[in-house]
Amino acid sequence: MTPVSSKQYADDVSLLMVLIDTNPLFWSSTAAPLPFSKFLSQVLSFLNSILLLNQLNQVMVIATGLNSCDYIYDSSLGLTTQRVETLLQKLEEFVIKDEELNKDDSVDGIGSSLLSGSLSMALCYIQRVFRSGSLHPQPRILCMHGSQDGPGQYVAIMNSIFSAQRSMVPIDSCVIGSQHSAFLQQASYITGGVYLKPQQPDGLFQYLTTVFATDLHSRSFLQLPKPVGVDFRASCFCHKNTIDMGYICSVCLSIFCKHHKKCSTCGSAFGQPQTNVSTSNQKT
């Protein structure tokens, strides 16, 4: 995809929206390569270094929980001396609240946190920054993610990606978990951001400062990790296999691998003129 073009405002001032995955099931499992406390200390040092790079830089932290999402920290509220304390306190309050919202249904494996929610909130905040006038920092989003991709969030995440692409906001991804995240690969590719899965997560701070710390204007002078063959093939709705060629229902755009007589999503009979049926309330 084409790299992000810079607009006509302050060149190297950035607004960094950090989305931190706080899924307790992930952090307590073996899939997490380092304990949450070590992860958090490296991320906090990174945030401090961003704010040191330029006086006008701004950082917002949003926590992506298992059952909810919330704003954790806003650097424009001042408080340089108590920065770490305020952040940690709000984070702890959030995690406690998130756990209280736990329903008692069993989740297999490490579950998936609500990435679509925090992405939507970040984009709303960025729109507010755009509305504030012509002199504002260049916004970008950094997702620190470890949980699995939740297939139920596909449509919402794609909507966020297209909206970010239209507003020219790159989405960078730093994947901590054991598997690659197809959603974040697509997000970074389409919006012109950087996707990275650190090979040695113990040195996370080093990856963060060398890859994700530079502002958008200076990225054109650096050799950042390039996107490696993002797979844009679709999966069929019936078996969830990735397919090369498939059949698309012309009414609801569901993808099938074999020819069917009737669409299982919208109920249209193929090859015959339909009767006027309004689709029932359904999400894939």
Binding site: C69, G117, C124, Q153, I248, S250, T279
Partner: protein, 420 residues
């Protein structure tokens, strides 16, 4: 300034005077420019008590948006209406003598061309699987500027190259041409025509009513955007075929009217037969490979996509493979249309004075954290999502419904998620 018509060219003195007058005309004082060029009185408005206030653009924008949303939601109720997602749209531009009128600066034709360019880009952004064709009416005949195709650049290039107006406008010829072309498209596609009509008459070789009935029978949905005045024949055409007729008041209104046609219209079920369309999802070709690309017919280095059926190389998606005819798309292209199928519920207005529940009202918008209270601690207008009950400011409301298509509150709630 003196009336130049009365001046008689005599000797050198008069010529000097003429020159002086012209220079004065060019060198208007700043206060004169405010009347001649800027029209500062137009940005004032009278409020209820008769006092003059400057126009508050933001409040107007919000009010207009909420009004439009209310009218839309009352029309469609709560059921999900099927929309025609695979559209074959013909844009008919009137390039007759009337298009040279200068009531829209610099001329109607130029303004229309600019808005059509913006429309084409927006259309392919919202409907990546659809195709557009351009038709121009000039000198009483209709000619195809471009055939139905999916690449915005080729249409815009063809449009900008052929801008010249003359002759009469003929509605019947345009409809006949479009009807002939749209007969050839597959049965699952939705057939649409948008006519941008500047003339006040139509010069037809036969009975235009017959042509209109033919279009109605072929299930072509015709909409007209008028640039001069309302015409009965256009109104009749739109009523018969189920399209929209509107007349633009000025350039900004024209832009709104054209862009209204960009999102897919509600589909009338009998108009298109549901069918399974075979499509391919090509993978990106390996970097560093040299191959001959089938769209430009020249050797290209690296990049591109490989058709899964015939293994030909194509440069960009979405496209039709020129060797085997398979429609090639990638999953984001399909995903771009999903928000039409799963729209965000319109948010409800919140009454400014909710006295018993005043303490329960949050202090900031859930999406952007903007304060929902004025400096004097008075609550400002906000909206709430009927599903997740979170509060949002009006700007977030507009952004969520027009661009994002996700409610941040609903997405941040575990309950509304359904994991496959």
């Amino acid at each position: 300034m003196s009336n130049n018509g009365k001046r008689k060219p005599m000797n050198g003195e008069d010529d000097d005077d003429e020159e002086d007058d012209e220079e004065n005309e060019r060198d208007l004082e700043a206060w004169e420019k405010a009347y001649a060029d800027e029209r500062s009185w137009e940005s004032l408005q009278e409020d209820e008590s008769g006092l003059l206030r400057p126009i508050d653009n933001q409040a107007l924008h919000h009010a207009q948006y909420r009004r439009r949303l209310r009218s839309l939601s009352s029309a469609s109720a709560t059921s999900r209406i099927q929309k025609g997602l695979i559209r074959y749209l013909y844009l008919v531009l009137d390039l007759s003598r009337a298009a040279g009128e200068m009531d829209l600066r610099p001329s109607r034709m130029v303004v229309v061309a600019k808005q059509v360019e913006a429309f084409i880009r927006e259309f392919f952004d919202q409907n990546p699987l659809s195709q557009i064709g351009l038709v121009a009416i000039k000198d009483g005949v209709a000619q195809c500027l471009t055939d139905l195709g999916g690449s915005p650049e080729s249409h815009i290039k063809a449009l900008m190259g052929k801008l010249g107006c003359s002759g009469e406008a003929s509605l019947q010829n345009a409809l006949e041409l479009v009807h002939e072309q749209l007969d050839q498209i597959p049965s699952y596609g939705h057939r649409e025509v948008i006519i941008l009509y500047s003339a006040l008459s139509t010069c037809d070789p036969g009975d235009v009513m017959e042509t209109i009935q033919k279009c109605k029978k072929s299930k072509i949905r015709c909409s007209v955007i008028g640039l001069s005045a309302e015409l009965y024949i256009c109104k009749y055409l739109c009523q018969e075929t189920g399209g929209l007729y509107s007349v633009a008041l000025d350039e900004a209104h024209l832009k709104d009217l054209i862009l209204e046609h960009a999102p897919p219209p509600p589909a009338i079920a009998e108009f298109a037969i549901a069918n399974l369309i075979k499509m391919g999802f090509p993978q990106r070709a390996a970097e560093g490979v040299i191959s001959i690309c089938s769209c430009h017919k020249e050797a290209k280095f690296g990049g591109g996509y490989i058709c899964p059926r015939c293994k030909a190389r194509v440069c960009e998606l979405p496209t039709e493979c020129s060797i085997c005819g398979l429609t090639l798309v990638s999953s984001p292209h399909l995903a771009r249309s999903y928000h039409h199928l799963f729209p965000v519920t319109p948010f409800d207005d919140v009454a400014p004075m909710l006295l018993p529940n005043q303490h329960r009202r949050p202090k900031s918008c859930f999406g952007c954290q903007q304060s929902l209270l004025n400096p004097g601690n008075m609550p400002i207008r906000c909206v709430t999502c009927p599903k997740c009950k979170q509060f949002f400011c009006l700007d977030c409301d507009i952004y969520i419904h027009e661009s994002l298509h996700n409610c941040p509150g609903c997405e941040s709630l575990k309950d509304s998620k359904s994991v496959d």
